[in-house]
Symmetry: C2
Subunit: 624 residues, 2 copies
């Protein structure tokens, strides 16, 4: 037989499952300060940016394909390559700007921090809100794109698309709740495989002949450049801008690099940029060269554009499958970076008092578990709402990123201005901020009607919420602050009221508790049933431990009202009085059995919630 204490000390089922999935708690002293080498850092921080190669080209083409109108013509798809190269140019500028940010903020220059420090509170909050949205969408977009990569080579999984996405989010959640300190290598494998396989694809692709190419150019000779087609081309450009997401990651992560960290971080940034620009540009070129048409997701046998290119080049060979799996892997890894960024940023903002403080609590596995769970929940809702379709989520994406880019660059401009650094740096950041700002405008205008309007709205809501939360914390600190000159107040008068219904064994144990723990105690009995009254009086003689018993009539048959009136009477006579009400509470074995008990304790608590001098104590007795 186990003692009651042993039974109570057993792990509840919830904890067992939690420890199985997430692992046993880790002590604070094991918090690691491990630093990342350039090679590991490249894979850790660049997977987000590089993974967009998997879908950015397709997003451009989907829009261009929709311009199936005579004056631009079906073959508007040839524009994919020039648009991609324009985006690559933009990328160069952004990378240059961030190169400067890394040197200016060796302890990590996230947009929230840079904007708050240099531009003030509201630009900081806008950047913070934009980034939070961006991280959520990074998870949604990357996870859905990873799932699309999977169903491209395993079309029998197509009907389970949303389920696959949810499963991936679940895996990410569990992994990150466990803590991913030692998982650098795990994510390095798909990232490097992806880089190698895309490299092979590009080289091989250049030498693979295409039948369709000449045909394609000819038809577009008579393209008609009017306003509508310009608008659609700009929209395609906006869609492609999702290729620029994730560039900030390295600037955020400077402190995690090995020394000399600034040096290493900026080299990693340049390396990543070189890979991203060359590969994205080339993949887009191959897509037009092989005359690829993006498929609607509803199509049976749906494949991503990248999968179609790879099939043309590799055929159904080992190389094709390796590329697809690596694609899914790097996208999964990209989603994983948001699992580092979102909880970190929300914990910083929580510590600044703009988000609930629970988001800054470090959990028993040394991770910000509340942020992780929040991120997973919102990303899952978005994935379910959009049924796992990457292209439906992309119009929301990039808006947040570019807003935060713009604010971060403008922050750098102000910083350089104040510190009177050299003019070239200032010019770089200024033109970076200007161009990304223009891109924000372009994205908002061209994609407003297909969902981009949501993002500014959500940012506004976030800022409203941030302010509400901040005001509460500020007010609370003000109200509760103590002065070293203050004295501990003395409570001179207090009384204890013990609520007694019909006397039973549980009530008797409560009487024993009241007698043992309090000095001044009276019992209250509310008369709900005249027939019971005599029994109560008789039992009280025997079991009442000589405590005075007050009988309260209840003309309206309410248990609560007479007690409240009695308490109010005491408080009216003596507003200084502190009253403790002891309410016996039966604890049942199964939750449903609570329906069979009146739970006066809960109702009494609610009714007395607004009376400040009243403390309610539940003394429980167990029925089992």
């Amino acid at each position: 037989m186990k003692s009651a204490l042993e039974r109570a000390a057993e792990k509840p089922l919830f904890k067992k499952i939690k420890h199985f999935l997430i692992g046993m708690p880790i002590a604070t002293k094991f918090a690691s300060g491990e630093k990342l080498s350039k090679k590991v850092a490249l894979s850790t921080f660049s997977s987000d940016a590089l993974s967009s190669i998997a879908y950015a080209t397709e997003e451009i083409m989907i829009i261009l394909q929709k311009t199936n109108i005579t004056y631009v013509g079906f073959t508007a798809l040839w524009l994919t390559t020039p648009i991609s190269w324009a985006i690559c140019t933009l990328m160069l500028l952004v990378v240059w700007s961030y190169y400067q940010t890394i040197h200016a903020y060796p302890n990590g220059g996230g947009s929230y921090l840079v904007a708050k420090e240099n531009l003030g509170k509201y630009p900081g909050l806008i950047a913070g809100a934009s980034l939070l949205i961006d991280y959520i969408l990074t998870v949604s977009v990357s996870v859905t794109a990873a799932s699309l990569a999977i169903i491209s080579f395993a079309p029998q999984l197509h009907p389970y698309l949303t389920l696959i996405c949810i499963f991936l989010v679940f895996i990410l959640t569990v992994m990150n709740l466990r803590g991913t300190k030692d998982s650098g290598l795990l994510f390095a494998i798909p990232t490097y495989t992806f880089i190698v396989m895309i490299g092979v694809l590009i080289i091989d692709g250049f030498f693979t002949p295409s039948q369709h190419f000449p045909d394609l150019i000819q038809k577009t000779q008579d393209a008609n450049w009017n306003t509508l087609s310009m608008f659609l081309v700009l929209r395609a450009f906006s869609s492609g801008c999702c290729a620029l997401t994730g560039i900030e990651a390295i600037a955020n992560g400077v402190p995690e690099f090995k020394d000399p960290k600034t040096e290493n971080a900026s080299k990693t940034l340049l390396m990543m940029a070189a890979i991203l620009i060359s590969m994205f540009g080339s993949v887009s070129y191959l897509a037009t060269k092989f005359h690829i048409h993006p498929m609607p997701l509803e199509t049976e046998g749906y494949q991503t554009v990248l999968s179609m290119i790879a099939l043309k080049v590799f055929g159904e060979s080992f190389g094709y499958y390796a590329l697809q799996i690596a694609t899914a892997g790097i996208l999964f890894s990209a989603a994983n970076t948001a699992y580092a960024d979102f909880p970190r940023l929300s914990s910083i903002m929580a510590r600044d008092g703009y988000l609930p403080r629970v988001l800054s609590n470090i959990g028993d596995r040394l991770v910000f578990q509340n942020g992780i769970i929040l991120l997973s929940s919102i990303a899952t809702l978005i994935i379910i709402y959009y049924k796992g379709n990457t292209s439906s989520i992309v119009p929301l994406y990039a808006v947040g990123v570019f807003i935060s880019y713009t604010l971060s660059q403008l922050g750098m401009v102000v910083r350089f201005w104040n510190k009177q650094r050299n003019q070239l740096s200032l010019l770089v950041n200024f033109s970076g901020g200007l161009v990304t700002g223009i891109v924000v405008g372009v994205i908002l205008i061209t994609k407003f009607s297909i969902g981009a309007w949501v993002v500014p709205l959500v940012i506004l809501v976030f800022i409203f919420v941030f302010n509400k939360i901040h005001n509460h914390y500020v007010y609370q600190d003000f109200v509760l602050s103590i002065n070293p000159e203050d004295e501990t107040p003395t409570i001179k008068k207090n009384t204890v009221l013990l609520l007694v219904p019909k006397i039973n064994k549980g009530i008797v144990s409560t009487i024993a508790y009241a007698r043992a723990t309090t000095r001044d105690c009276r019992a209250l009995h509310v008369v709900l049933d005249q027939e019971d009254l005599n029994n109560v009086k008789r039992d009280w003689e025997k079991f009442g431990a000589k405590l005075p018993l007050v009988i309260l009539d209840s003309p309206y048959r309410s248990l609560i009202d007479p007690v409240i009136e009695y308490i109010d009477q005491i408080l009216l006579e003596d507003p200084e009085m502190i009253i403790t009400v002891i309410v016996p509470q039966a604890v049942v074995k199964h939750a449903w059995q609570n329906l069979l008990h009146s739970n006066a304790a809960v109702r009494l608590k609610m009714s007395l919630a607004s009376r400040r001098n009243v403390v309610i104590t539940n003394v429980r007795y167990f029925i089992d």
Copy 2:
């Protein structure tokens, strides 16, 4: 300026709305013992039974109309009259049986009581379950039928059918929560108007010529009586049996009659039966005479059969509108009787320990408010599920009624057998029980596939639940019963633990409370942030009121676990110890602000729920 107490004593909005709708509380001493005269009783107790005239004929015809197959033929509708007359014969037998029940149970002979007393626990529970279901369906059927009567003369309301039903249930709920002691007259008006108008309709109808009648008979000469058509005729008979619902009401209500109550009640029963039988039979005759075809509810300009008969006889005159409004009125009144019956039966069963005790609580308006709310909720769900269509609900109806009739008659048989009363009485109840039992079988068989299977299933579930609840109460009484020889136990050792986070004004007031109200108290501080520790120690010197401060390390950054370990340590050293944990709790102004606080109190309560020697007290401090 109002004092804090005055502000606290103000009525909350919820109470204001409640008192506006339902009225101020009524004191127990005003509980009235007012008795009903025959005239008022007739209208109060017979509206349920009489109201079925409004829909029973139609339900028969709907089934007969579906037998639109060559061998029975389209004109199977002529069978409406013979089937109705067969039901009237059945009614005679049931009424005779209940006539005897009234004399045997002058204090009210509900089926639950009669079956439980004479047949035993399980027949009693089956009868109880059947009646509860019956009352719920009485509300659903009567309210939907009332709404159909309304949309018959106001077809523009047709699209709002379900809404009208829900509104009527809402009115019934509010009326009954107010208490309907003095509403006898209110319900007498539509009942007597209905009786008078149906009387006029019948007399007038007999003399109104019909064009279609000869045509109708001729076609049915060659009806082919095979198994399928017999089955459908029996199903039509089953549908018509809803005319027998409500007969029990008078036997239930004997104690509410004026003296000599048995005499008055049985006379009222006979009067009601005479009216019901003659009117139901005649209305069915008129329906066939005027060659009425029931309309599907989806039809534009839907009218009930009764409305179509009235139009043929009265035209669009005052008489037509008076009848329609009276029909809606008596149906509303019928639903109202279920609002008396359901809460009364459920309070009786709750007192017997078969339903949660809250159902036997008399509310502040002297009504069983919980039963009323439960009844309204379930009836509303049924109405919404069936979209306000009476005919969809009718297959469920009558099963419960006839099961309870059967059990009640069989109970009477056993009673007469034991008491050796005269043989005729025994024979009447026996044949009553036999016939109603057969009807149960017929209804179940013919309507099994269209919904009747639900009822036995629900009865089984109810009985399972009744037993579960009963076992809990029995067990609880056993566990908690006290012996006059018992002594109040003495608690020798108890200690108070005061949980202190960072010190602020709220915590200081909690310290004052702990010092004032307890003898042996130590403070616990869990170290979550090493930097705070020195502040806490310094503040404790100043504000700690000389209480000992225990510092608990938390290697896994949990607030709760170290406290639990500390408590378990104390309990391990001394299992007799009673521990009171005082947890300070910040009370915020708006509910959403709770998200901004850690609410350790709630989590600590849950974690300590299984430890029996622990009492948790929240001492609240207010931020506003």
